[in-house]
Symmetry: C2
Subunit: 244 residues, 2 copies
DNA sequence: CGGAGCGTTGAAAGCCCTCAACGTTTGTGG
DNA sequence: CCACAAACGTTGAGGGCTTTCAACGCTCCG
């Protein structure tokens, strides 16, 4: 089984030729296991490898003066966590794990070769970094324009659709080992208020989150509350994604 | 005079060879003039050209149900407004002008050729889209973790440093033809509260904004208030020298 | 010169935060 | 298997920041 099988899965992986999948797989230098709640990269450090997340949940974040931190991205299975470090050479944020994680390490020197020898694959690598940017934009919208309940609704649906694309959502539920504090750091809220809003969603019959499992109980009303439209995820529609 | 002279100016343009500058200049199909307050591209539309902003201020934004909009990016001289539309093929947000603008149109077919023939230039184009992503991340931080005065301070400094990089800030002042409503749409605030916070910055002797001109009167205190560090702008000189 | 858009200011209401206490779950060592 | 501690989750009360609503002044331009 290829370790890169979930890269762009459900989001344009079908645009890769078999040869390109082989090239990408061959670019992996090694696999690493990371414990939960570990800082992986600090902002400003020069980076020479990029990291493909195979399993687990990681995040990118920035610290505020008051000790709180703001998540700027949540990385799930199949995501390149820091491919943007290839053109940028250093990162403007920290990277860490939230759960235990398994990652594939890809040296930048091998991406150099891809740019020269495989321009079409290079364009898809570029594209994958821009899917992250589209997520960033939606996060700006979510924090800037939605109230607390709307932000939570939007975030849960975003995560649900992303996980479904890589086959990690089972029906209307998915495993999600984040704390209410984590949710608050992603949404610009306190954990106390996240707790209250989760209760509101639960009592409204829209979504439940307990013991590391999220269940979407009324997708339509949740989407209306969070003004959620999965357009920005650039998901493939109608195609079934086999494991290759 | 090259129309692409401000592309990556102050932010890595020196990494371009003369030949690459020529290639980029040659990729321009035509120049267009746009009036102020015009919608240029609507979300979802397929895009086949990319737009380099030569002069003026443009923005990217998303509409909320309540009629308000959230800016997700502000584009200044030298910015590619929608280069991400090249790998993505369609946009997940609207694009519009705030002031009159002059733009260069670059067909995607010509970028295809750059990817094949000029991998190093391709990497710098990729990089320029990731500089936008770094701005997105900082916007998430700003809206998610700073109070209203901090957001405003941070935003004014960000704009000041970006304009300085392309030679469009004169000492501690720069022309900035936005309304307080525009600022609110960028910062997730109402125009009324923007007004109050501008007064606070003015009375605190930190910054002034009147008649389309911003003046930074105490860079250090403003930076402290906005927790601003220009690191994420990836400016070439690394300097954020005050001119006072 | 009149109107529309923008800017300014005040008062009141609402959303979210802070602080605090307590209950629940998880993990660890005896 | 139990005891215990630490982390996480839950709930209430009060306060603060921002919004809402409203009114009015200013500027610019047709």
């Amino acid at each position: 089984m290829r370790v890169t099988k979930d890269f762009l899965r459900g989001r344009g992986r079908n645009g890769l030729t078999q040869a390109e999948k082989d090239v990408l797989e061959g670019a992996v230098e090694r696999i690493e296991h990371l414990p939960a709640r570990r800082i992986v990269t600090r902002r400003g450090e020069p980076v020479t490898n990029s990291t493909l997340l195979l399993d687990g949940v990681m995040c990118r974040y920035m610290d505020a003066r008051d000790g709180f931190r703001q998540l700027v991205a949540l990385q799930l299975t199949g995501d390149f966590v820091d491919l943007h470090g290839y053109p940028l050479r250093r990162l403007d944020h920290d990277v860490g794990t939230l759960t235990e994680a398994r990652v594939a390490i890809i040296p930048h020197a091998r991406i150099d070769k891809i740019l020269i020898d495989h321009p079409h694959l290079a364009r898809l690598l570029w594209r994958s970094t821009l899917l992250d940017a589209a997520l960033h934009r939606e996060w700006i919208f979510r924090i800037g324009r939605l109230d607390a309940a709307g932000r939570l609704a939007h975030f849960l649906l975003e995560t649900y659709h992303r996980l479904r694309a890589v086959g990690a959502a089972d029906g209307n539920a998915f495993d999600f080992a984040l704390t209410q504090q984590d949710l608050g750091e992603a949404l610009g809220l306190t954990s106390v208020h996240v707790n209250r809003m989760l209760r509101r969603l639960r009592e409204g019959g829209m979504a439940e989150f307990a013991r590391g499992v999220v269940r979407i109980t009324d997708h339509d009303r949740l989407a209306r509350l969070g003004e959620f439209d999965p357009d920005y995820l650039y998901l493939e529609t109608g195609t079934w994604n086999r494991d290759d």
